[in-house]
């Protein structure tokens, strides 16, 4: 089966700046994929390349087995909601919801109406008079109700409060269960979306650092907590991602543990706990940046 997204050696340079640097990955059909990274890491540029809004400097992109650039057959299956999505100034939200169905074959008006009620979006107010959060909720509603086979959300929650963000995550997951599709979600609120993600891409300074399914990624590290001596004995020469200590206590994040290693740790009186995706990514990006610097 052709992956929905297939990217090979993709690069994008703006003058001297390399925004996307030799990136390769695939995203399988019907996955929710997190595109994570710090501000300016290249997330938006990557999504613009994928949707044919930017032109690549090198490498290839294939969506549904074809190049997206100026390809109506591919692009009409995509919906791209940007962080600060602009709308025609004289539009009111109801104009947006009137026009959107013309462009999305799978548009579900009932779902859109429900979301409008959920987000308490005023339909008759002019776009320029809406708050930042209300503006963001328009994008979220269009992105969800479009049911585009490939939907991109580029930090769609700007100005949305915690309740509204929760509604977004809930509705996304709920609707995804009934209508599976491929969703690329770029965000830096990693912990909030951790449970949604099936696949994780982490990009930093244009380079792809992590390209793994979320399960594998989570099992890549464990927190080991106990007395300093016990922890040090157990850890030995293991790869340590992070080390913390207070007094005689020590907490160390180590790379993945096997079943027998876990038993050994428990026998030594150590406590094991999973590492949150956010912590893991922070730690992995730190070490990988260091490794990169060391090898450079």
């Amino acid at each position: 089966m052709t992956p929905t997204i297939e990217v090979t050696n993709l690069s994008k340079r703006f003058g001297k700046v390399t925004a996307v640097d030799d990136v390769s990955f695939t995203v399988a059909e019907n996955t929710i994929c997190g595109l994570l990274g710090r501000n300016g890491a290249g997330k938006t540029t990557l999504m613009q390349l994928l949707t044919g809004q930017q032109f690549a400097s090198g490498g290839t992109i294939s969506l549904f087995g074809q190049t997206p650039v100026e390809n109506a057959k591919v692009l009409q299956n995509t919906c791209f909601i940007k962080e600060s999505q602009r709308y025609p100034e004289d539009f009111r939200p109801k104009d947006v919801f009137k026009t959107a169905p013309w462009f999305f074959a799978n548009w579900d008006q009932e779902f859109a109406d429900r979301l409008i009620a959920d987000f308490r979006l005023p339909l008759d107010r002019r776009i320029k008079k809406l708050s930042r959060g209300q503006l963001s909720s328009i994008g979220v509603i269009v992105g969800l109700a479009s049911r585009a086979p490939l939907t991109f959300f580029d930090e769609p929650y700007l100005g949305l409060d915690a309740v509204a963000r929760e509604i977004f995550y809930d509705r996304l997951l709920e609707d995804y269960a009934h209508h599976p599709r491929t969703v690329i979600l770029s965000t830096h609120l990693i912990d909030e979306v951790a449970d949604l993600l099936e696949h994780v891409l982490v990009i930093d300074e244009g380079k792809l650092l992590i390209n793994e399914d979320a399960e594998t990624l989570r099992s890549r590290a464990t927190n080991v907590v106990g007395t300093k001596t016990a922890v040090d004995t157990f850890v030995g020469d293991r790869e340590v991602l992070h080390r913390d200590g207070i007094g005689g206590l020590s907490s160390v994040t180590v790379a993945g543990l096997s079943e027998s290693e876990r038993r050994d740790a428990k026998a030594a009186g150590l406590e094991l706990s999973p590492v949150s995706l956010q912590q893991l990514i922070i730690q992995l990006t730190r070490t990988e940046t260091k490794e990169f610097e060391a090898s450079a």
Binding site: Q53, A72, E89
Partner: protein, 256 residues
Amino acid sequence: MTTTTSALAHPASPLKRITRVTKLHFANPWTTLGLPWIILGVIFAGSLTIWWLIYSALSPAQRIGALNGTEFGGSSFFIFIYMMVVAIQAISITFPFALGYGVTRRDYYLGSSLAFVALAVIYTTGLTILAAIEKATNGWGMGGSMFAPIYFGDSALQRIYAEFALFLFFLFFGAAIAAVWVRWKATGVVVFFIAVGAILVGLIALLTFTDSWFAVGESLVDLGVIGAVSWSLVLTAISAVAGFLLLRRATPRNAA
């Protein structure tokens, strides 16, 4: 529980892909239709008031032909220039929006062009109707003339042709400027106008140094309204093609 995979959309027909962009420009008709007519209405009301002031100050004998000069007025010219603004607004506002909806640049430009032709038809029709009323009411009862200026010829047909062609010119010239704006933002537009200015100054210099002004005037008279307006279609076509080529490689960016 039924689970349906969001199947790949059945490809929309090329015509539908284009006309939905056209419809997008009229989804909220305030920018493209509302405001221009309102401004024209205000100018018209102003003109009527002035004509009435003049008219009522004159004795019935003086009134005959007193407002004949108004047919040299240019108060309806604004609407032509304003179409350039409409085109610039329409493109700069909807381009990034439509691309997010998965529209290709090609479909976007063709759909927008169709919208511009529709606008030219609508505005020409409007002006033609108003001109007919103006003639039928003997210049709104006062011999005034706003919608049938002498520059567009004497017959209704000539006027329709001239107005339609001019609307097209300003709309597509606006589209070309908008494409420059979308692609290079303010810097691009500044360079563009410097270039246009340089070309105009160059032409003026050329005509002055070769003493050709008289010849130009003569050939314009020879061409007549229809001939001169027909030449504008060449500029319109150049603008339209330039707009397409520029937009074809443009990337939507956030607010400048």
